[in-house]
Symmetry: C2
Subunit: 336 residues, 2 copies
């Protein structure tokens, strides 16, 4: 869009859509919308993947694409503390697509639906010049159980599940010259990075446990830690300080950096997108208990990476204790 | 898709997606999916509009496009006898799109949301080479109140709301040489045709009334009467006989045929798509009462156009009483 970033465009759209419609608890601007739906709250989210922007058919299989298209929506439901229920999948298909490719795509969708105990129930198909996969997912959460981006308070700790940067590392690998890729796909660390990018895991159980553990704000890391934490701070009207040494950098990125010298692991962890880990804020007293529950129930690490302060914006705390502004940079679907 | 019609592709997808997932009452293959959702049944539907396939930016305003993108989904909810509740809108936007265009599009979405007492609560935006508008809508219907395509029984009458072919006539007008368009846009009938194509009305109240009147099967006419009635018959495993003289042809098509000699009003009524009128089957004793309710409550005409018989396929009954096969032809999003 001429002269607009994605965030600016979303802000324009947000202003246009009234949030006071009956039944709407929370509209645009969070991971998902919250609506009245029977005895529970309904969670509604959608995500569009476009060939040439989000993926290339040459480097991703139809099955992985289907899996990921559903998983990234499930991640948005997880980021509200909810459970996914139903999916709708609309496909824009170029004329050269083979039916077997569409069948494989649905195989991946079905894998993900099974993984997250949900069902794909419909959608639409159309011709299109470039491939488009547009998914909408409904989920649910008990009344009072949803966690949005806007509840972080000064004094809260900032926590993140798992490790960051692996998906961006996998993308670098896919875009690397063929001889580098051949070197690495047979290694465990290479496959770990590729898998993080091609079949990301949505943290549904972890999201519910964090919600029950008293998370004051939560979102998934889809556009990079710095950018998404910036959004959380803006929604909560607070400032965050991130201890750079504490950011959990995916271990495989060190091995990637040996093969591809332009890879900086910490930069990928801070600014690489599509990790789909959960970023949350918790009262200080709740962190240890939440971390041990996540380790016990899901084998998932929870890392304390900093604190919420009064003010606005982000700061990075260096190894020597010095603070510097942290730019909320990351993946932008318009400029990126 | 190489060598596949839309119906063939849908059939492949249908076989791939298990319908026995918990909570799924009805999956792919009807106007919308039916799912467990609290005390009501949830209705889920999605529709994708692609530039160059469904519309051209040169002949449709952003506002009309937004209106129609939501209305066609609402029509699918109406065709189940339900009420629309929430919408998700995902946009694929080319780089040359102006922000003002996106604002206008949302203006049209908001108009339609207001018209149908629902709310657009979220979605996604992405870059894309050609414009894509992908909408998902949730709705609801009381348990036992949903009408699918598969309940038509031999002896039922076939009925349709409103008049048919106006939308296809409007499209012909948009594609006609400029001097013909200039002649007609100032006329009432020209504006009626254009409006039917650009801002189609979804028959929400009519769908609920038909459901309450005992409709045994129902769907919206989106791809043309012959094609959609063919689908209804296939889903219900019955045959339909249509009295051609009784098909309600939009009156303005006669005036259009004077200006554009290649226009055949009855052909457009039978095979032109995007009317979004409701096609239903009713027991013979229920037709008169349903028709008077629709006239009284909504000023909408209900026309008896034929009967359901044992067997499969469609027949047309000519003026002289002779019967001939009726091809289920119409709009195909892959070949059309």
């Amino acid at each position: 869009v001429a002269g607009f970033t994605e965030d600016e465009l979303l802000e324009v759209i947000r202003r246009l859509l009234a949030e006071d419609a009956p039944g709407v608890m929370l509209g645009l601007g969070d991971d998902a919308a919250l609506v009245e739906m029977g005895s529970h709250l309904g969670i509604l989210t959608a995500d569009m993947m476009v060939e040439g922007v989000h993926f290339d058919r040459g480097t991703v299989s139809a099955s992985d694409l289907g899996y990921k298209a559903l998983a990234v929506n499930v991640s948005d439901v997880a980021a509200m503390g909810g459970s996914p229920r139903y999916g709708l999948v609309s496909l824009g298909l170029p004329e050269d697509i083979e039916a077997s490719w569409v069948v494989e795509l649905y195989g991946g969708l079905r894998d993900a639906a099974g993984e997250y105990a949900m069902a794909v129930v419909g959608g639409d198909t159309s011709r299109a010049e470039r491939l488009v996969v547009s998914v909408a997912v409904t989920g649910e959460v008990a009344r009072g159980g949803a966690v949005t981006r806007s509840g972080a308070r000064p004094g809260d700790r900032v926590v993140v599940t798992g490790a960051l940067g692996a998906s961006a590392g996998g993308l670098k690998l896919l875009q690397a010259p063929p001889h580098d890729v051949v070197q690495t796909v047979s290694s465990d660390w290479g496959r770990t990075l590729l898998n993080s990018h091609l079949r990301p895991a949505a943290r549904v159980g972890e999201g519910q446990t964090l919600a029950q553990s008293g998370a004051t704000a939560m979102m998934d890391v889809s556009d990079g830690l710095a950018k998404d934490l910036g959004r959380l701070c803006e929604a909560s009207e607070v400032r965050a300080a991130v201890v750079l040494d504490d950011v959990p950098v995916a271990l495989s990125l060190k091995e990637l950096a040996d093969v591809l010298p332009d890879v900086e692991p910490l930069a990928l962890a801070l600014e690489g997108g599509e990790d789909y880990e959960l970023l949350a804020t918790l009262p200080p007293t709740a962190v240890r208990r939440a971390a041990s529950k996540l380790a016990e129930r899901f084998g998932t690490q929870l890392t304390d990476i900093g604190e919420i302060r009064e003010g606005r914006g982000l700061v990075a705390i260096e190894s020597d204790g010095k603070e510097r502004p942290l730019e909320p940079r990351g993946w932008d679907h318009f400029s990126g």
